[in-house]
């Protein structure tokens, strides 16, 4: 084999002689012309009791330039409507609140968890990333992202690198992402723990202090992926996230209650003014949050049926510790269909500053929030996906998921009459998604 001359002609002649053919048909083989791999999806998310509804359209396209050089583009448009809990507790009587814009008021019925129904937003997001091999066993990727809502802007970038070891049976990944977000609340910013004021009638006046706030997020990830024999893959990730800046939800309030009875402290707006009939304070959160998470995922192929099991443990310095357990099964059905049942369980402990309500005492705590998402939570998801591959290689899919969230206020958090009478803003939700994957 040391000689350099071509052997093609001699090989072709020998093969023809072996197969007893005179002139074989030429080989015509090429990589498919399609360069763009496109995923499009329409998603409906609807919470019970006409709470948040999200209609979302998403499209992503990946272009392969060969030799694993890839450009990925992604765009999403969300339309959010509905009502969301404002943080105040349910009371025996009706309640009235100043709307976030401070230009009106809204009321809730006796015994109901107060919902702010003025909530609606349009979110657009764009992401672009590039990935390519680098040296023999390395691969790098870099991306930029941008999203915009009425009151929120996000700009972020990320870098990732992987290195293969052990004859590519082991892959180490390291990734970093940085985001610079900006919040500009409707109705302006409120001083933390300030009282909800009466609504104003003049258009040029705002209830809060105005302006916008920044939030920066740094995420770091270290991961190992290990091939286990012919049919298994294990992935373990450690991630660290550091958020600084304005982490408060500008629309969330706490009910101010009598420190003995636990009942809402009532208030009478001045004559002619429209405003809250009780005392409510805007929430206050720390301006840093450090989170660590450990994630393990095992995927095992049982001759076409693929089982995926995942567990995630996360903790942060707000004392929110969470655990997630998830299982997914990929079940081929016939030649061109598959089913994917999915279950997920998530549990978290309450943040150290979570309160069901705020006692009317001096001094006020530094941090307090009645956002149920910071309470102790149990959530369950069950879902099923069905996909069908068409003759031209495109794929249709439909996914239905049911989600249930139950929050719990820590008992030591409750005051007087609240014990045994708490009403958390629990809900369930339906997620319905239609997807179409094709090549261009």
């Amino acid at each position: 084999m040391e000689r350099d001359q071509r052997i093609g002609a001699a090989l072709a002649a020998a093969t023809c002689s072996l197969l007893g053919i005179s002139s074989p048909a030429p080989s015509i083989a090429a990589e498919p012309d399609s360069k763009w791999d496109v995923d499009s999806a329409f998603l409906f998310y609807g919470e019970s009791d006409s709470r948040v509804q999200d209609l979302s359209l998403a499209a992503s396209a990946v272009r392969d330039f060969g030799d694993e050089h890839r450009l990925a583009l992604e765009g999403t448009i969300d339309s959010l409507t509905g009502a969301s809990p404002n943080g105040a507790m349910a009371t025996a009587g009706a309640q009235t609140f100043t709307s976030p814009s401070a230009r009106g008021a809204y009321s809730t019925l006796p015994g109901q968890v107060p919902l702010d129904s003025t909530f609606h937003d349009m979110r657009t997001a764009l992401n672009a990333s590039w990935s390519q091999p680098f040296a023999r066993l390395y691969s790098v990727s870099a991306g930029l992202g941008f999203s915009n809502e009425f009151d929120y802007t996000h700009i972020g970038g990320n870098l990732a690198m992987t290195r293969d070891f052990n004859e590519r049976n082991t892959t180490l990944s390291i990734a970093a992402a940085y985001a610079n977000d900006s919040v500009k609340p409707v109705g302006g910013l409120h001083t933390p723990l300030s009282l909800m004021a009466d609504s104003v009638n003049r258009d040029d006046e705002e209830g809060g202090t105005g302006g916008s706030k920044k939030k920066n997020v740094l995420d770091l990830l270290f991961g190992v992926t290990q091939v286990l024999g012919r049919h298994g893959v294990l992935r373990v990730n450690y991630s660290y996230s550091d958020e600084t800046g304005y982490l408060t939800d500008p629309y969330k309030i706490l009910s101010v209650v009598d420190p003995v009875t636990g009942d809402l402290v009532s208030r009478t707006p001045p004559p002619g003014a429209e405003g809250p009939l009780g005392l409510y304070r805007y929430e206050s959160r720390p301006d840093t949050r450090r989170k660590q998470a450990l994630y393990a995922e095992l995927r095992q192929d049982f001759s076409g049926k693929v089982l995926q099991l995942a567990y995630r443990y996360a903790k942060d310095d707000w004392q929110v510790d969470s655990q997630t357990l998830e299982a997914r099964l990929h079940l081929p059905w016939g030649e061109s269909n598959y089913f994917e049942p999915h279950v997920r369980y998530y549990k978290q402990t309450a943040a150290s500053f979570y309160r069901y309500s705020l006692a009317d005492t001096i001094p006020l705590p530094e941090f307090a929030s009645a956002d149920a998402r910071l309470a102790a939570l149990d959530t369950y998801t069950v879902g099923l996906k069905f996909a069908h591959t068409m003759a031209d290689g495109s794929e249709w899919s439909a996914r239905l998921e049911l989600y249930d969230q139950k929050a719990k206020a820590p008992v030591q958090n409750l005051i007087g009459n609240q014990v045994g009478n708490t009403k958390m803003p629990d809900f369930n939700a339906v997620i319905l998604q239609f997807g179409y994957h094709f090549k261009l």
Binding site: E2, G8, L11, A14, T15, L18, L19, E31, S336, A391
Partner: protein, 299 residues
Amino acid sequence: MTARQVELTRGDDLWIARFHAMGGPCEVLVDTDQEPLARMLAVRAAECAWRIEHKFSRYRTDNIVARINCARGATVQVDEETAGLLDFADRMHRLSDGAFDITSGVLRRAWNFDGGTRVPTAAEVARLLPLVGWQKAQWVRPVLKLLPDMQIDLGGIGKEYAVDQAAQVLARISELPALVNFGGDLAVSRPRARDRPWRIGVEDVTQADRQRAVKLIDLHSGAIATSGDSHRFVTADGERLPHILDPRSGFPVRGAPRSITVAAPNCTNAGMLTTLAMLRGPGAEAFLEAEGVRHWIQR
């Protein structure tokens, strides 16, 4: 042994027949919606695979290969088909300056490519080398005489040869386009209507996540062969040695790619190009570039 069964399933606009032969899963895709026709063609292709496996398997004691390997230095007269394969092996041995050698199978007594770390000593390998070397055989068609204890193994060409034979049988007996796929080596019997290709997925051996990562190739006519098994290797001092042995040294070829896929007019031709490229080790890319054939290499 797996039962000789051909199972058909309906694809979107074709029938897919599956059976087991040559130590692995085999498929025949027939471009028709008529099940009986598809079954008839698939059974013919399967019979072709089983016949060739039976005739040339080195694991049997009742075939021509066993007769040659047990001849203990005596001459053996072979049939036309075997003679054709031996002629081909003889030409390949000369074309590759001895790198391709059907007598190299005895080296497996020293090498066990089971993913372990057992590497034989140079002395162990040297003891086997006298039994390796096609140039030591006397081949005067149709008579073959090996040295006592020398053996031949047609495994390096048998599967691709079977793919071509099956594709030829299907082309001869039917107008229907079909794709023959014996464990990843494939050939087209006839081009499909309206210039539609057969879309072929090649396993991406470099990705930890082998479920998804697949290189797609549209094959209109001709054949494709892939060489390289990511699961057969031995590790020496942390370096992974592939299962491709250089019969001249008795040791694995260093620097060979993980996987080589080549497109050629027929599968035997494609398979031989992948093998010869593998034997070039680090020079595999340069070799295939110089030959001017469509190829896909995974390192």
